[in-house]
Structures are given as C-alpha cells and as structure tokens.
Amino acid sequence: MRLGRYVMPVSAALGFGFLYIPILILVIYSFNASKLVTVWGGFSTQWYVELFRDPQILDAAKLSFKIATASATLALVLGVAAAMTLVRFRWFKGRTLLTGMVAAPLVMPEVITGLSLLLLFVALDNLLGWPAGRGVTTIILAHATFGMAFVAVIVQARLRDMDRTLEEAAMDLGARPLTVFFTITIPSIAPALVAAWLLAFTLSLDDLVIASFVSGPGSSTLPMVVFSKVRLGISPDINALATLMIMIVALGGAIGFWQIRRSMRGRSSR
C-alpha cells in the first residue's frame, strides 16, 4: 500500500464526501414531490410554496435576521477592539485575562453559556431593573458576546500578518492614531472584517441553545421554530429552507473567491 498515492487521498476523498453528501441530499430532496425520503415522487417546488406560506417560519426568519444583523455589528466593533488590544497593546495589564476570555467562548458548551447568561440577566433585572424582561435585547447581547470571540480570532490573525510600514509612514507624517486607524488599518484588513461580520451573523442566525435560554415569550427565533418542527420528524419544507440557506452561502462563497482571485491578480500585476 502506497501511503501518499492511495491511502491518504482515498480517505481524504471519503472525508469530503462525508462533509458534502448530506448537504447534497438535503438539496435534492427539497425538490421531491413525495414526503418520503426513500421515494422519488418527481420534481416539485411545492415545499418552497409551503415554506413561504408558513407565517410562523416567516416571522421567525425576520426576527432572526434582525437579531443577527444587530449582534454581528456589535460583535464586530467589540471583536476588533479586542483583537487590536491583543496584537498591538503590549502595555495593557489585562492582556492575559482578555486572551483567556476571548478563547474560552469558542469551546464553551452552549448549555453553560446559555444558562449563565440567563441567570445574569435575571440577576441584573432584579438589581437594576435592566434589561427588563427577556427577548430580542437579551438575545442580541448574548450573541454579540460569543460572536466577538470569533471576530477577534479572525481579525487577530489578519492584524498579525499586516504590513505596518504604511501605518508607520502615516504616523511619521503626523497623522493622528485614530486617523491612521480609519484610513489605513481598517481598509487593509477590510476582507477579514467582512468575513468576521458574516461569520458572526451566521452563528447568530444558527444558534438554538443560547437563544432558547435567554429569549422570552413571543420571541421565537428561526432555529427555535425549526427545532420544534424537526423534533416531530422529517418535514420537507425544512429541506426547502435548508436549500435556500445553502444557496445563499454558496453564492457568498463564490463572490468571496472572485474577490480573492481579483485581489491576488491585482497584486501580482503591480
């Protein structure tokens, strides 16, 4: 058996199949006229029609988009600040603490994060009368907190690789730090910022566990509605929903590729 020739590539191919076959199946069966997975009842778009007629799903989707937009934006600001601190500010005394607090939410089991945030919100409510019940605000705060950890990781990597000569030149010419940050640092890490915002957005849109803990009555997010449907068994309109999400991500991925390739070509031709 040749290791490099056969074993590794074949097992890697199986690995990629393992990743993509379930997604492919979701897409194919979203167009299945039959409700049964094992029976192909012909091509049909009826589940998409059903999906768009379901007010519960539509309302939840709208709410989830609102929460994801707000929490990703908040996470971006906080995460960039955390990344700048970790990469640039050697003088900061809380660096070790911040390093740990940025890394831990990435692997913390969601049930713990959810429960602890809920108990915090209840305690704050009793103490200060804020955030006055649970709902959209508490979900946004919770999602911003774990989103900022992911943002910080992505932006940190980009800040480390960044060429600092431009910033230094601007400083030498007398630009204030804030001006340097907004006119040089931000544009040169822009792709990482876009990726980080999108990741925080996706994670918020997808979160079931933390949102279930910190949400209140009347604020059911999309994953909460999907989960209660899926628990009762297979429902083909969920396949349609999944396919729509996959299409959006694939489109986003393609646009991202195109941008990366264009910027690479631009760089090499210069």
Binding site: F18, T38, M101, M108, I112, V226, F227
Partner: protein, 301 residues
C-alpha cells in the same frame, strides 16, 4: 494644537482595551459566579424559581443561606454520575472518529500545490457557514431505519435487514464528527503545513518506507496539532445538546441534555446550575491545556 472632539492619544487606546475586557467580564466571567451562587440556593415555586442566598434580615445584617443539597443530590443520584461519564465517553469516541476522518484530509490539503490547497481549505470551512441545525437534521433522513443509507445497503445486498443507527450512540458519534470536522482539520492543517519536508526526504533516503516515515516523523511532529484539534472537538462535545437530542435515543444520557431538561422541563434552576458548575469543573483542565497549546503555537509562528 490638540484636535477637538477626539480622545487623547493614550486615553483612546485605554478605551479600546477596556471596553471589550469589561464586556467579557460582565457577560462571560461574572455569569459563572451567578451560576455558582444559584447552585447553592434552594428551588422554590416563584419567579425566579429559587430562594435568595443572601437575605437582609434587618438593616445592616445579612443572613446567608447556603444550600449544598443540590450537589449532594447530584452526587447521590446515580443518574447524574452516569450521564457525566456517558458524556465524556461519547465525546472521547467522537473526537477519535473526527481525528481519523480529519487527519487524511488535512494531510492531503497540506501536501497539495497552491491553487488546489486554497480551494480544498475553503471546501472544509464552507459547510461551517451553513446552518448547523439543518446539517444535523440531514442525518435523520440518512440514518433512519427506512432511510437512505439502509435502502442503499439493502439494494446493493450488503445487508439483509435494515441497520438500526438513528437513536443510538453511533448516530451521535457521526453527528459530532460531522459538525466539528472543520475544528479538527484546521489545526491539523496548520501543523502539517509547518512540517519540515526535508526530514521526510532524509528518512526516505535512510531507507524508511512511507508508512515508517509517517509514524516516526510526521505523526510525532504534528502531535501539538492533534492535541489542539482534539480539544477543540472534545470540550464543546461534552456539553452538546442538539446532536444527542436529534440523533440520539431516549437512553442517550448526555449531560447537556440533562441540564436542558432540568431547566426547561423541571424548571429546577438551582439543580441545573449545580449540573453546569460540575460540568465546568470537568472542562477547566482541557481548556487550560488548549490555552497553553495555542499560546505556544503563537510564539512558534
């Protein structure tokens, strides 16, 4: 002249550093103290459903009522011990499965020439961007007794009776491996791409077969990546709720599910908090190990 309306040089930096730190203190670290406090209170039919730990009896005099009953209850009830043990076991097996699937993928990506390398990397990361919940859901249709896998295997003639996979631990291993695969592949890839290829050439020149080179050079040198990837899968898998809830059976006792039920079904917040505190104690060790590994990797890079 100082510009108006903008923060001073040093103070501006201070704010940038302190805002995220204070945010994480308030919304990440302090909540654990609140959980610890409530784990020591007594459940009650009230809103919130527990009795206060500190009560002001008269002005200036506080009465502190600590109740270790929740912990005693968890320690004495074999159900909890069993589900902690089951969670660790399931997380370990799943981590091993993820490693076995992820290592060849990372190896092939790291050895690929450049345009293909980026493409394969993106292919590993891309599923992470689609809904985790829906990707777990996809496995129900595959693993069901009358699902796709069984009908394919029956059709080919490999089995004569459908396999029962859904609602067993095997389905949970597959689900965890599937969702956490990128977390395993990325650190492995980082370790493999840093590997000095000349060492492999040297070992081949000295007569080692590819397999011997792999086990004596590649594997030992990528151990930090193996540990980092394994911890990134193992730690969150211990507390996993969605995967055992959707793919596991009623007898799949994972601690995340137990906590969820204590909280949502029994509305016993103090017990749920005590369950969380014990779980936290379980993962603190692996978490610190991971932190050390990552700090070392940053220094090396």
């Amino acid at each position: 002249m100082k510009p108006l309306g903008l923060p001073k040089f040093k103070n501006g930096h201070r704010w940038v550093a302190w805002v995220p730190t204070l945010w994480l203190l308030l919304f990440f670290l302090i909540p654990f103290l609140v959980v610890a406090k409530i784990s020591l209170s007594e459940a009650a039919i009230a809103m919130p459903p527990y009795l206060p730990v500190i009560e002001w009896v008269e002005s200036g005099v506080a009465q502190i009522r600590l109740n270790v009953g929740n912990y005693l209850f968890i320690i004495e009830d074999p159900l909890y011990a069993a589900s902690y043990w089951e969670s660790v076991r399931i997380a370990l097996v799943s981590t091993l499965v993820t490693l076995l699937i992820g290592y060849p993928m990372a190896h092939v990506i790291a050895m690929s020439p450049e345009p293909r390398r980026t493409l394969l990397l993106i292919l590993v990361i891309l599923p992470f961007w689609t809904s985790f919940l829906l990707r777990v859901y996809a496995w129900i249709a595959i693993l069901k007794t009358n699902g796709l896998l069984n009908s394919v295997l029956l059709h080919v003639g490999l089995i004569s009776e459908p396999l029962v996979i859904l609602q067993t631990d095997v389905a949970v291993y597959l689900g965890i491996a599937y969702t956490y695969l990128p977390f395993m592949v990325l650190p492995l890839y980082a370790a493999l791409s840093r590997l000095d290829r000349t060492l492999l050439e040297a070992s081949a020149d000295l007569g080692a077969t590819p397999w011997v080179s792999f086990f004596t050079v590649t594997l030992p040198l990528t151990l930090p990546g193996i540990f980092a990837g394994s911890l990134l899968v193992f730690v969150p898998a211990i507390g996993e709720f969605v995967i055992p809830a959707l793919l596991g059976g009623n007898d799949t006792l994972m601690i995340g599910k137990v906590l969820w039920n204590e909280f949502f079904a029994n509305r016993d917040w103090p017990i749920a908090s005590a369950v969380a505190i014990i779980m936290l104690c379980l993962i603190v060790g692996p978490l610190m190990w991971l932190n050390r590994l990552q700090a070392k990797q940053e220094q090396g890079a």
